[in-house]
């Protein structure tokens, strides 16, 4: 049985649904010499695929997860293994009922169907539900079930028929050989295979496999309890697997679905039960399979009572016994998303892990395209393995976060929800000062960033209603009117903002100009000391990132990008380094801290602590200089994301506190105040119409649509240029606009404040779709305190993208009138940027 080749192009480890999908899509993209191995038998090797409940809900609050699921659903349909049943998400409490409206909003934003229905309608769709318990439901007619084992088999066979795939079951991986940072071979129980690529698609075992190669796939095996009850009398006459809608009881965090003559009940409500990948039992010592662990009844008890009261007609039957009950293992990650892409640690080592049934074909396609061209069609940013910073790959962090996230699976998660576990990992040198000032910290990529400062609460009285207080608890959750007060005070005086979370890369070497030109849209051949804000594009012309690059010397540049993008952008820059080693890259993220000093009084403050000339003539906008601030050597970059005069001041991490104290002391006479990220990333940004990666910018949109195209295109080649030129030549399908909410008073008389990801509708209340099929939705929302407005950003098709166009935004089921205030990137506040010129 040792048909194992000695060489392969790609070794895919894991023959569950994910590995099979990756194999198929690679074969479809003309890859040959693929080897798919699994330590278990086929068709069910004993992983999580084998016990999955196999139903698919297309709507998710995340755009990319919805898109991946939609792609998966289409693929399952093409394979003929999908059966539509419809789905009902039930709400027992007012909070859950509110949440249903947010589900509808997400459905409308991402182009899915779904509506809120009454208990009576629920009864007509699923007659066994005790509707006295519920307030309503989110009805999604496109929900259904798939046969994931069959789908995997069909995918695999298809790859075999293309002559691309060798299959080897019962083959255990014993080692992954890595030399020079690149994967070379896989050692198995049936011999060694030399290979260029390894794809780890083995679910809960993936961390073990990654570790063999010296890389990390930060997921944790976690128990999800599931039982099957039957025979159900009411199902005696139904034929086939499923004849009734699948229920998600959102309040109790359970699902109930028909499976033939039985009812399958699963729970996300029980305590998080995590496992170490090394403790997963072997196939032979398992009673059922390694991922079907013994059921722990006591954990499931409350759920039984809840299922019983919800579906008494089905479940309250002496003859309906528990036929099957498991603690099923599934993969959980620290942020709940899948883990795909090439590991930052090892070239050629790819992850396709923590992928659930509803996502597998989509992720399979994504990974295959990514391996083929470097650029999948769907935006991989949110699922990229490189999003995990080193601290986030530690076991302790993974355990803490996955414990916290388990109960979020069906929970109501606020868009600004903060983590309670595993905090305080990356602290700026200003941290203790900030704490003393009453900073309320939000986390980004492990960094603790002050979102606002309670010490600024005294400003509230001064600014009165201009801070736009929010009466509704949901709108005000994880928010404070102090943010708006800080905003106004900064525009009046001067504020300092901790920006130490920035990821910073210095690149240098004789080939650096050619190298950086290739990666950026902007012209990088500028004099030393000049800073350029530029998009990074992929080949298809979509946004990979946007960042600021400063030429330091003839042969060196400094790249500054957002903290959460550090891992992904860093890998992109490293991957594209020239092979001749004419450019080297240094990651200074942990070496430099950053404080932003902005406001009309910023120059007064800075000049008072430095001998260097910081006048506009000596230090113009978009330039950088090395200056002395007391004894602190500071690299000062005159730039602003808040629309005010000022600098980003970069200093050695260990002198950060010193810098802070110097500025703080000097600033007192000018009314200097600490300002949080609430201002920096939302209010001030929105007033200036600045785009934020991951909100306005992703691979779905191009610089023309985002109105970030420059008048001229540089002569040099760069990645995405062809697509960029094409986009410039065409009329854009959508244009990023800033909208103003005209009236935010709800039907109950309460002022409401959108938070982002709400559908933009026509005045008739219809969703808006551009000719590329993309819906218009709120990409960012926030106060514009200086304007006295509430601002939204959204891409709109050209016919709507005109100043003055009247539209609507839907928020918790109600429609509010909005007007297009800006079509494009012109700032709504200080449109000629006079303040920044200072």
């Amino acid at each position: 049985m040792s048909g194992l080749p000695s060489h392969a192009r790609v070794v895919i480890i894991g023959a569950g649904i994910v590995g099979n999908c990756v194999a198929y899509h690679l074969a479809r993209l003309s890859w040959k010499d693929l080897v798919l191995i699994d330590k278990g038998p086929l068709p069910n090797p004993g992983g999580s695929t084998g016990h999955a409940s196999n139903f698919i809900y297309p709507v998710d609050h995340s755009k990319i997860m919805t898109q991946i699921t939609r792609d998966s659903l289409r693929q399952y349909q093409e394979l003929g293994v999908f059966r539509e049943s419809g789905g009902l998400e039930l709400a027992r409490t007012p909070e859950n009922f509110q949440e249903l409206h947010r589900r509808v909003a997400s459905a409308k934003c991402w182009g899915e169907s779904g509506e809120v229905v009454s208990p009576e309608r629920v009864k007509s769709l699923m007659p066994f539900v005790n509707t006295r318990l519920i307030r309503g439901a989110f009805w999604v007619p496109t929900v259904g079930v798939v046969d994931s084992l069959r789908a995997g088999t069909l995918m695999r066979e298809s790859a075999q028929q293309m002559g691309a795939l060798t299959l080897s079951a019962n083959t255990e991986v014993q080692g992954i050989v890595v030399t020079g940072g690149r994967v070379r071979a896989v050692r198995t129980s049936r011999g060694e295979i030399q290979t260029e690529y390894v794809v780890i698609a083995c679910g809960i075992w993936s961390p073990r496999l990654a570790r063999m190669a010296g890389a990390a796939i930060p997921l944790s095996p976690a128990v999800h309890q599931m039982i099957s009850v039957g025979p159900i009398k009411a199902f005696e006459k139904t034929t086939g697997e499923i004849g009734y809608p699948i229920i998600r009881d959102m309040t109790t965090m359970m699902y109930e679905r028909q499976n033939g003559g039985e009812m399958e009940i699963g729970s996300y409500a029980h305590r998080p039960i995590l496992m170490e990948p090394d403790d997963i039992p072997s196939i032979e010592t398992s009673k059922l399979s390694p991922t079907e662990l013994p059921f722990t009844k006591e954990d499931f008890e409350p759920q039984m009572a809840q299922a019983l009261e919800l579906l008494p007609d089905l479940l309250d039957d002496e003859n309906a016994g528990i036929q099957y009950a498991i603690n099923g293992l599934l993969s959980l990650t620290p942020d709940g998303g899948p883990i795909a892409g090439e590991t930052p640690e090892v070239k050629g080592l790819w992850s396709a892990a923590a992928v659930w049934i509803k996502e597998a074909p989509g992720v399979g396609r994504m990974v295959a395209e990514w391996m083929t061209t470097g650029e999948p069609e769907l935006d991989p940013n949110e699922v990229d393995v490189a999003r995990f910073q080193p601290y986030a790959r530690t076991r302790r962090h993974v355990r803490a976060r996955t414990s916290e996230i388990y109960n979020r699976t069906y929970g109501i998660v606020h868009p600004r929800e903060q983590w309670t576990s595993s905090r305080n990992h990356r602290l700026s040198p200003f941290h203790s000062r900030e704490k003393d000032l009453g900073a309320v910290f939000f986390e980004l990529a492990g960094w603790e960033r002050p979102h606002w400062y309670e010490s600024n609460s005294r400003l509230l009285e001064h600014y009165g209603d201009r801070v736009q207080p929010r009466p509704n608890e949901w709108d005000a959750r994880w928010w404070s009117p102090i943010i708006n007060a800080e905003h106004l005070a900064m525009r009046d005086r001067v504020g300092m903002v901790d920006l130490s979370a920035f990821a910073i890369f210095d690149i240098r070497g004789p080939g650096v100009l050619e190298y950086i030109q290739k990666l950026t849209v902007g012209q990088m051949d500028v004099p030393p000391g000049k800073a350029v804000y530029t998009p990074l594009l992929n080949r298809a012309g979509g946004f990979k990132s946007d960042l600021t690059i400063t030429r330091m010397t003839e042969h060196s540049y400094r790249i500054v990008t957002g903290g959460s993008q550090g891992g992904i952008d860093g890998r992109w820059f490293r991957d594209n380094l020239p092979a001749d080693r004419s450019v080297e890259l240094h990651d200074l993220t942990s070496a430099l801290c950053t404080v932003g000093l902005w406001g009309p009084k910023a120059r007064l403050v800075l000049q008072s602590v430095t001998q260097d000339d910081v006048s506009s003539e000596a230090f113009p906008y978009a330039s950088a200089k090395q200056i002395d601030v007391g004894s602190v050597p500071v690299w000062a970059l005159r730039i602003s994301y808040v629309g005010e005069l000022g600098w980003e001041l970069y200093a050695p991490m260990e002198q950060g506190a010193e810098l802070w104290d110097l500025l703080w002391t000097a600033g007192q006479e000018h009314g200097l105040l600490p300002v949080g990220i609430g201002v920096y990333a939302t209010t001030a940004r929105l007033e200036k119409g600045y785009r934020l990666y991951g909100h306005e910018l992703d691979t779905e949109y191009n610089p023309v649509e985002a109105d970030l195209a420059r008048p001229n295109v540089k002569a040099q080649e760069f990645i995405g240029k062809e697509a960029y030129l094409k986009a410039r030549a065409e009329a854009p399908a959508a244009i990023l606009c800033t909208l103003v909410v005209e009236n935010n008073v709800s039907s109950s008389g309460e002022r409401r404040y959108m938070l982002g990801h709400e559908p933009i509708l026509t005045t008739a209340g219809e969703p808006i779709t551009d000719h590329k099929g993309r819906r218009s939705y709120v990409t960012s929302a926030g106060s514009g305190p200086s304007l006295g407005k509430y601002l939204l950003m959204a891409y709109l098709p050209p016919e709507y993208a005109r100043v003055g166009t009247q539209l609507k935004v839907e928020y918790f089921g109600e429609h509010y009138p909005v007007t297009v205030a800006v079509a494009g990137s012109t700032p709504l506040f200080d449109s000629t940027n006079e303040r920044m010129k200072g």
């Binding site: 086929l42 068709p43 069910n44 019962n170 196939i283 009673k287």
Partner: protein, 323 residues
Amino acid sequence: MILAFIEGERNPISPLCLQALTFARELAAGQGMPLEAVAFEREAGDLPGVLQRHGVSRIHRVEHPRLDDYAPEAWAKALAQLMDRARPQFVLAAATDRGNEILARVAAVKNLPMAANCIGWAPGSPPVVVRQRWGGSLLEEAALHAVPPLLTVAPHAVEVREIETQMEASLETFSPVLEEKDFRVRVVAREETHPEGVSLRTASVVVGGGRGVGSADGFRVLEELASLLGAAVGGSRVATNNGWRTHAQQIGLTGNRIAPDLYIACGISGAIQHYVGCKGSKNILVINQDREAPFFRRATHGVVGDLHEVLPALIEEIRRIKT
């Protein structure tokens, strides 16, 4: 002296009983002790002849007017009385239903430890036995803190061997003192059954089915193959729990233990519960879709494939050969 309990129903001495005798004789030889036997059966055929070929030097034949059929309490009391008189250093029996029951009852009456399903033994003080747990999937070494130790010998722990130079066995009658009460548990009637087809326990070929068969209907193809091969049909615990076969047809720890020349296991993964029921088979052919069902590692022959594909093709081919 070592005392072996001899049982036999209509057919005087079962192979399992002979295995126990071999085990007892080797034990006796190691201890330099004579081997004696106790028998209750009335129509025991040429009992002395058989027993002396196994090294038994004395036979205690238990006689009592009321001992006409199996009465376990009375048998145990009789054996206990014999032990009081003959003072054996060990008492052994085959680990059959009856052997285990009688020795357990003697152990209870005399408050002695009893070790069931032994496969080995080491002298010492206390003596140590090796016995089976989990139907033989696990072995236990245990010390027996009493004299005489009582133990039953697991099936197939040793192969039956007769001795080369035999001595004549003397025959002694033992008349126990029994009361009416000792007969409160006794066989009051017997019901013969005539199982349809071939008996699982004695068949030389057995076809078994498990989870992979999928349904009661699915067994038809197994029955067809069995009828062509003159085989008996059995099922795993999954098959009997699902009602696809009756419990009487279960092969496994809590069902039948089979020992055919060939066992054809179809769609059975090979969990302990099942394997201990069939491990006496000389050959095991496993047909399973799961290439590495654990059963393949314990089989002599394997076919990877869906039984619902393989068996019809096999049946067709056998038919073709037969005609």
